[in-house]
Symmetry: C2
Subunit: 479 residues, 2 copies
């Protein structure tokens, strides 16, 4: 009983302290543990299973668009990292440097990849000769290291898992098309599978990736009104190709530079899942991504026939293609309920002697707590329906929350007032110059999140300087 | 045409120079490329797809035994690596050391994991409290780094991909059982999927893993008569538990040390696949692991109806669950044949106007070159049969080769003679003392590969010292 109380009590309410609530959930739902190297994390089975599901589904979607997987080394020689000027400036301050191999000092120090543009360029420079070698549409699943000062589980850690796609194309148009295509893969995945609605748009030059011509992003709004950059796709034009001399002989026998893209999606989105869907009882996982979708919890399991029936139900649901577990441990039903809720398992089935007598079971939705009595014989048909409804409603709820926390400002005063008092996205027009963007960040502590693709014109002048406006921008505080 | 000739000519014959043949195959079959950090490799799509299939199938087999996946950091603080004496001695000379994070020197240097026993122990020491927390049966898929002086693609590289399982158990018996269970998973996988027969056995103390009580191994014989250690499973007893203080409260409320195991399987087995099955035309992949099982190659594809029919055939085979591609590029059929052979694709279908008229296609097995005319309507039924036969015969052929190169020695002279002139395994009795093992390595350049589980007694005395024999040992030259 001591442990049961601890499980329920130890979680801070999100209204009281959102950051502490987040930390409590990642620990209590057993997603991560801290590691002996500061800023690194142990991803535990419940957390890693979410990542496996993300990998599985994204990888399938990538391959449908012709992506092939590869693996490049984790090390980058310093001289290679330095070949593209903007890129090295962006990353050198936060890489981990290897200086010794075994007992010997290295002749040139090497860094652990913070991202692999330079490695892919080095590889492509050797591998691409002719237009017949194009396009290259490669991806790798790996870990990367960025030596951050302040870290938080999933959201910002010194090592994290991700995929990074790196492509090379004959033309600028094809590269741009691929950049947008992959952004849309991310966006659709977030909405269809993670039930997280996203704004698709372009980053300002200030916020774009080091070395990119254009960075596209999907931005999601967390429960506390902060934004999370959820996936980015970069068009490099031929900048890296020029720095690394990646040329191909075109059909007309002239040498041309390739055009490149890269795009990445990381374990940080597990943080997004928590902060979009979680509540004060813990994690809430959308059914499509949940490693366990249904937990069968027997009531009075010591009574004859209960566990047998519970196993029967589990087997029937498994046969229907659902991911199901049975909690037949010796804990009390109340403890099991609390645990299932903490772990965000979308549905539980309560099944006791009285239910069995009545030929029914009670199913309880994790998100709404709605209880539905269902004849046992109909569980395998009914539960997929309930899960689909839950999936859909979770997306709708997240979208309603986001929309309710998306504000429009047409004057500086309005903008200031919202930025100071209402957490969420602020839509406001911008003149396009970095001075205004810098000043807004400085004075109001919000940054430009993106210029949405479908950006309507809500005013004629820049929210800050009053000069003619060029772009609608979503502003916000970000993780 | 120049490229076609190059593709076929550039491969050295294995009889002439096996090492060069191997290097030619990994390059020509486009499995890897060299990287700018010496001793590291780029695993290209054709190579990585093999690894994905290995992962997929092994992971499925692991999970059937209750394994859960996790991810631990890639960094180990020096003080943590040093906690177990034998372990640090074994690995410290070959790790890569990180000394700087960004612009700052680290207070304590950290190494990139060469293997993760110490990290798992550190984690388990925090995570395990009671018998209820046991067993822990965790695994991770990741890359590891060992700063080797001499490297070869797949077989020995400074960074390689693998899985490492790490388990903790309440009793010594349970740990031993898990150690053997996972060795058997590896062995079955090698034989059933990779068509590589293996000897299951135990390593001598000299050859066991740094810090292990017992190391079990599967050993395969390559085409050149050298052995390849193909997967290992270690029983640590409570040695690491004592060094890291991993204790649990047992049912009787006393504190006990856990018993641990670890087991690993790596990309080196792609090298094994090449060296067991490859021939002078390139790679030969067993159907169950081949990323592409069937290549449809149209003849006179510019003639009306040929490409349409070829596509129809491909679609029918895909619908039958096969992994099929169509080579409709502009290369000549001969070039396409050579390429399909180089890449080890198990089966090709030749389909030209005359075949179509006759309502048939010619299928050609990669391993035997056997040609079989099959009515087009029967392809989808016939090809899975042919692939199964091929899978079976590849295993049989590899086993026959191994058996033909496994020798028995009962006298020192016989042993010397075989070691000097006949590449392969040598079965000989051993007294169990390390002096003899060292001397045999020193004088005859063969090492003990394993003491097989079913080791019969083929003589009464040690092959080297003549004292009473304890164990049958497989000796050989190894990669």
């Amino acid at each position: 009983m001591a442990k049961e109380k601890k499980l329920v009590e130890a979680i801070t309410s999100m209204e009281e302290d959102f950051a502490q609530w987040y930390t409590d959930v990642v620990k209590k739902a057993e997603l991560i543990d801290y590691a002996s190297v500061k800023g690194c994390m142990v991803i535990k089975p419940a957390g890693y299973a979410i990542w496996e599901n993300i990998q599985h589904e994204l990888d399938r979607r990538f391959k449908e668009t012709g992506v092939e997987n590869v693996y490049l080394p984790m090390f980058i020689p310093e001289s290679l990292l330095q070949k593209e000027k903007d890129h090295v400036e962006g990353f050198a301050p936060e890489v981990a440097w290897v200086t010794h191999g075994g007992l010997e000092p290295l002749q040139e120090r090497i860094c652990v990849r913070p991202t692999s543009e330079t490695l892919f360029c080095d590889f492509y420079a050797n591998d691409i000769h002719s237009y017949r070698d194009l396009p290259k549409v490669y991806n790798q699943w790996c870990s990367v290291v960025r030596w951050e000062k302040t870290t938080r589980p999933f959201l910002r850690s010194r090592e994290f898992l991700w995929q990074e796609g790196h492509t090379a194309h004959a033309t600028a148009e094809e590269a741009e098309e691929r950049t947008i295509q992959m952004l849309n893969v991310y966006a659709d995945f977030c909405e269809e599978v993670l039930a997280i609605p996203v704004i698709r748009g372009r980053k300002t030059d200030k916020e774009k990736f080091a070395g990119a011509e254009a960075t596209y992003t999907i931005e999601a709004l967390m429960h506390d009104g902060k934004a999370l950059q959820s996936g980015t796709s970069h068009n490099f034009g031929d900048g890296f190709a020029r720095a690394f001399n990646i040329q191909y002989a075109d059909k007309d026998n002239t040498l041309k530079y390739v055009h490149q893209t890269s795009w990445g999606f990381s374990t940080r989105m597990i943080g997004g899942l928590i902060m979009v869907h979680g509540d004060n009882s813990g994690l809430v996982l959308p059914p499509r991504i949940a490693p366990v979708q249904v937990m069968v919890i027997p009531i009075r399991q010591q009574q004859e026939g209960v566990l047998e029936k519970a196993r029967e139900v589990m087997d029937a649901l498994k046969a229907a293609g659902l991911r199901v577990k049975l909690d037949d441990s010796e804990k009390s039903p109340g403890w099991k309920f609390a645990e299932q809720e903490m772990r965000g398992i979308p549905l539980r089935i309560e099944l006791g002697p009285k239910d069995i007598e009545a030929g029914q079971a009670v199913i309880v939705r994790r998100d709404t707590r709605e209880k539905i009595a269902v004849p046992i014989a109909e569980l395998a048909a009914k539960i997929p329906e309930v899960l689909e409804t839950m999936q859909k409603e979770m997306l709708e709820r997240a979208r309603a929350h986001r929309d309710a926390h998306t504000y429009t400002a047409t004057t500086k005063e309005e903008f200031q007032d919202i930025a100071n008092s209402k957490p969420g996205f602020i839509k406001a027009m911008w003149c396009g110059c970095q001075e205004c963007e810098d000043a807004i960040k400085e004075e109001l502590a919000v940054t430009s999140r993106c210029m949405p693709f479908d950006g309507e014109k809500i005013a004629d002048t820049c929210i800050y300087c009053g000069k003619p406006a060029k772009k609608l921008v979503y502003w916000g505080k970000a993780y």
